[in-house]
C-alpha cells in the first residue's frame, strides 16, 4: 500500500502531515510506503529520517486543478498511489473536486463534501450552530456603514471584528472598531462580522466522522501553552463529555466524512463552551490521539478502503504533548535534487 500525504511543513505553524504519518507508522502491522507531496524544498518533513519513502513537489492549489491532476498522474505512474490524504485547508476544495478523476485512476481519498466544507464558512457556521443548539459567540453581519450603530446597542466591548474570509481584530471600543472595519472592508468586502469576545481558555477536539453520521473517535484536549502566534505548543487530553458530545452531534448532523478539529472557548464568565471554528481536517496535534488510545489517522485509512471500524469510546486522560524544536542536519544533495528535479 502506498499512501501519499501532504503538509510536511513541520514548522512553527505546522502542517498535520508528519503527525499523520507518525500515527500511521505507529500501527503494529503497517508495511506500506509513504509518499510525501510537498510544495517547497525546505519543508522540514523532507529531512526527517524514516518518515517518508519518497517526495514529490506538487503545484500550489492556486495554480489550477489541471496542473495538479497532471502532476498526480505522473507520480501515480511511478509510485502507484493507493490513497491521498491532503492535510491543508487550502488543498481541500481542489482534492474534493478531483475525487472522481482520482478514483478513476484507482486512488482513494476520504474527504468531506463541498457542502460540508461550506458549513464552516464564517457566516454559515453561526446559522448551523444556532439551528443545532450549539453555543457560538454572538455574531452579527455588518452590511453597510449604517449598520455600524447596531454594535453599541447589541454588544459589550471588547468585540472581535472579522473579515468574511480571513483576519480578525479585537476592538476595545467603538472608536477602535472603525479602522479595523475600514481595513477589512477594503480587503475582503462586505459583510464584516462583529463577534462577541469571549474571555476564557481554549479547548480542542480532534474527531473522525465515518461519512454516515457516525463518530469513529474523538479526543478532547486543553491547550497548556500557546505561542505568540496563537499556536498550541503543548496540550493535555481531558475528560469533558460536553465537548465529545458536541463533536458527535456535529458529525451526526453534517454526516461528516473525514477528520476534523473543533476549536472551543470556555467562557470564564458563564463556564460554557462556545464553538469558534470547525477545521475540516486532522490537526497538527493529531499524534496525541494514537498515544491516548485512538489512532484516528489509521482509522481514516481503513474507512477510506471501505473497511468497518469499531468506534473508539474511551481514551487515556492526562496524556501530554509538548512540541519541540530540533535541528535536522542534511547534506546539500537532497535539497539540490528536490529544488531542481522536484522529486527524491
Amino acid at each position: 500500500m502506498n499512501i501519499a500525504v501532504t503538509g510536511l511543513n513541520a514548522t512553527d505553524n505546522p502542517g498535520p502531515g508528519i503527525p499523520v504519518i507518525r500515527s500511521l507508522k505507529e500501527q503494529k502491522k503497517f508495511s506500506g510506503k509513504i509518499t510525501g507531496l510537498i510544495y517547497d524544498s525546505l519543508e522540514p518533513g523532507i529531512y526527517m529520517d524514516d518518515m517518508v519513502d519518497n517526495y514529490y513537489l506538487i503545484p500550489y492549489p492556486s495554480s489550477g486543478l489541471d496542473n495538479l491532476m497532471e502532476r498526480i498522474s505522473y507520480i501515480h505512474k511511478k509510485e502507484k498511489l493507493d490513497l491521498i490524504i491532503p492535510t491543508l485547508d487550502s488543498e481541500l476544495y481542489g482534492f474534493v473536486k478531483l475525487q472522481p478523476k482520482l478514483e478513476a485512476l484507482g486512488i482513494r481519498t476520504f474527504l468531506p463534501t463541498l457542502e460540508q466544507l461550506n458549513i464552516r464558512g464564517k457566516d454559515k457556521l453561526f446559522d448551523f450552530c444556532k439551528a443545532n443548539n450549539i453555543n457560538v459567540p454572538k455574531n452579527i453581519l455588518i452590511q453597510s456603514q449604517r449598520d455600524l450603530e447596531k454594535i453599541e446597542k447589541q454588544f459589550k466591548f471588547p468585540v472581535v471584528v472579522k473579515g468574511i474570509f480571513y483576519e480578525a481584530y479585537i476592538a476595545q471600543s467603538f472608536e477602535e472598531v472603525l479602522p479595523y472595519f475600514n481595513k477589512l472592508k477594503s480587503k475582503w468586502g462586505y459583510p464584516i462580522i462583529i463577534q462577541e469576545y469571549i474571555k476564557g481558555d481554549e479547548y480542542n477536539v480532534v474527531a473522525l466522522g465515518d461519512g454516515n453520521g457516525g463518530t469513529t473517535g474523538a479526543v478532547a484536549m486543553r491547550k497548556l501553552y500557546i505561542t505568540d502566534k496563537g499556536k498550541g505548543w503543548a496540550g493535555i487530553t481531558i475528560k469533558e463529555n460536553t465537548l465529545i458530545d458536541m463533536a458527535h452531534q456535529i458529525i451526526e448532523k453534517t454526516k461528516w466524512c473525514s477528520g476534523l478539529e473543533l476549536e472551543f472557548m470556555k467562557s470564564k464568565e458563564t463556564g460554557e463552551f462556545y464553538l469558534l471554528e470547525i477545521n475540516p481536517r486532522l490537526p497538527a496535534w493529531v499524534y496525541l490521539a494514537p498515544q491516548a488510545g485512538q489512532n484516528l489517522p489509521a482509522a481514516l485509512v481503513k474507512l477510506a478502503f471501505g473497511k468497518k471500524v469499531k468506534p473508539f469510546t474511551t481514551y487515556e486522560i492526562g496524556k501530554i504533548f509538548v512540541r519541540c524544536s530540533w535541528d535536522l542536519i542534511t547534506d546539500i544533495k537532497k535539497f539540490e535534487t528536490i529544488a531542481t528535479l522536484g522529486e527524491w
Binding site: Y39, Y60, S63
Partner: protein
Amino acid sequence: MTKKRYERPVISKHYSGLMNKYGGRQMTPPKTHLDGIAVKELTEKFGSPLFVMSEKQIRNNQQNANRIFKNRYPKVQFAWSYKTNYLDAVCSVFHQENSWAEVVSSFEYEKAKKLGVKGEHIIFNGPDKSSEALLHAIKDTAKIHIDHFDELYEIKKITETEKLKAKVAIRINMDVGVYPKWDRFGFNLENGEAWQAIQRIASNKNLQLIGLHSHIGTYMMSAEAYRLAAQKLSLLAKSIKTDLGIAIEYLDLGGGFASHNTLLGQYLPAEQIVPTFEQFADAIASGIFSASFKTEELPLLILETGRALVDDAGFLLSTVLANKRLADQRRAIIIDAGVNILFTSFWYKHKITPAQESGMHSEDVTLYGPLCMNIDCVRESIVLPPLNKGDRLVIEYVGAYDMTQWMQFIQMRPNVVMIMEDGTVELIRKSENLEYLLDREILPVKFKKSSKQSKTKH
C-alpha cells in the same frame, strides 16, 4: 547533430521561507492547438491579436446546461443573454440550440429580430426602453420585463393610445442573503413595492402579467441564494394566483452563474470553489418545488445564463512584442493584446498559457499590453516560462463580455474567428481599420485642405 531548443538564459534565487509562492515550478503544458487547429496557423492566417470562438464548446455548454436543468425540472427554457456576446455567429449557435433571446437595448432587440428570433421568444429587459422600442415590442408580442413604475405607466399609455395588449413580466429584487444586494433593478419584494406593481398590472385590462423575473447578482458563488430566490418567486406566483386569480406562466431566474474565471485577489482558482451547474440547477429546482405547485400548474423556468455558457468558448491569441526589465529588476513582457480588448482583466486572473513548448524553468513577470497608457496592464504578476519576442500566448475564458465591452482605443479591434464543428475556420468579425474609423467621422468643411493647398505645402 540536432541543436537544443533555445530559451532565454534565466536564473532565479531560492528564497527562504516556506510556501514561497514562486518557488514551485510551473507545470503547465503548452496550449499549441485549439479544437485541433494550430495556434500558429491561426495567427499567421488571421493576424495577432485574434479572438477565437469554439462552436463545439458553445454547443457542448448549452446542451449540457439543458440536460442538467431538464433532468431536474420538467419545463426549462434558456434565453441567450445578448450583452454577454452579441456577435451574430455566436448568437446563432445558441438559437440553433433552441435558446431564445434576452436583450437589454433596442439595437440588441433588432439584432435578434434580424437573426430570425420570433417576438414572443424575445425577453426585453433593462431600465432603458424607449417608447418606440416598447411599441415595437408590444406589437411583436415580445416578453417585456418591467423595471420601474415610469416604464409601467409608459406601457399603459401606449396600449391605451394604440389599442394594443402587452405581455409583461416584472423584475423583482429581494434579499437572498448575498452582497452586494442588487436593489437598483426592478421592484423590491420585501417593502411591498413589487406587490403594488403587480396589483396595478392586474387591474389594467390591456396588460397581461405572464411572468416574474429576478436576477440576484453577477458571478454568484453561492447556489443557495438561487434556492431562496426561486422559492420567493414561486411563493409570490402562488399568492398572485390565490389573491388575483392570475396564473403566472413563467419564472425567469436570470443569470449570474459564475464561470471558471478566477477573480483578482481570490487565492483558489474558480474551478475549485465555484458551484457546478448541477448545484445551481438543484437549488433552483428544489426552490420552485418547495412552493408545492400542482403539477399541471408548474411554471416554465427561464434562465438567462450568459457568462457560464460562453466564457470558456472564447480565446484570445496574443504575441510577445518585447521583453524588458523594470527598474527593480522585475521582468516585464509586452504583448499585443491590451486592456482595450481584454476589459475583463480588470477583475479576472485569466488563465494564460504559452502556445509553444518551453523548459522547466519559469519566472514571475508583469504582463503589459501594447497601449501607450499606464492602465494597460494585463496582469500584475504571473509565473510564465521565459518567452521570446514572437512567442504566442493563449488567454483563456474570454468568451463573455470581452467582445462586447471592448473598445477602439489606440489600437483597433482585431479579427474574430470561429472554429466550426467540422474543423474549418470562419472569420466572423473583420478587424477594424482606419477606413472603418473614419467612416463615422465628419470633418467640417472649413478644416478640409484642398488638394492644391496641401500640394503647395509640400
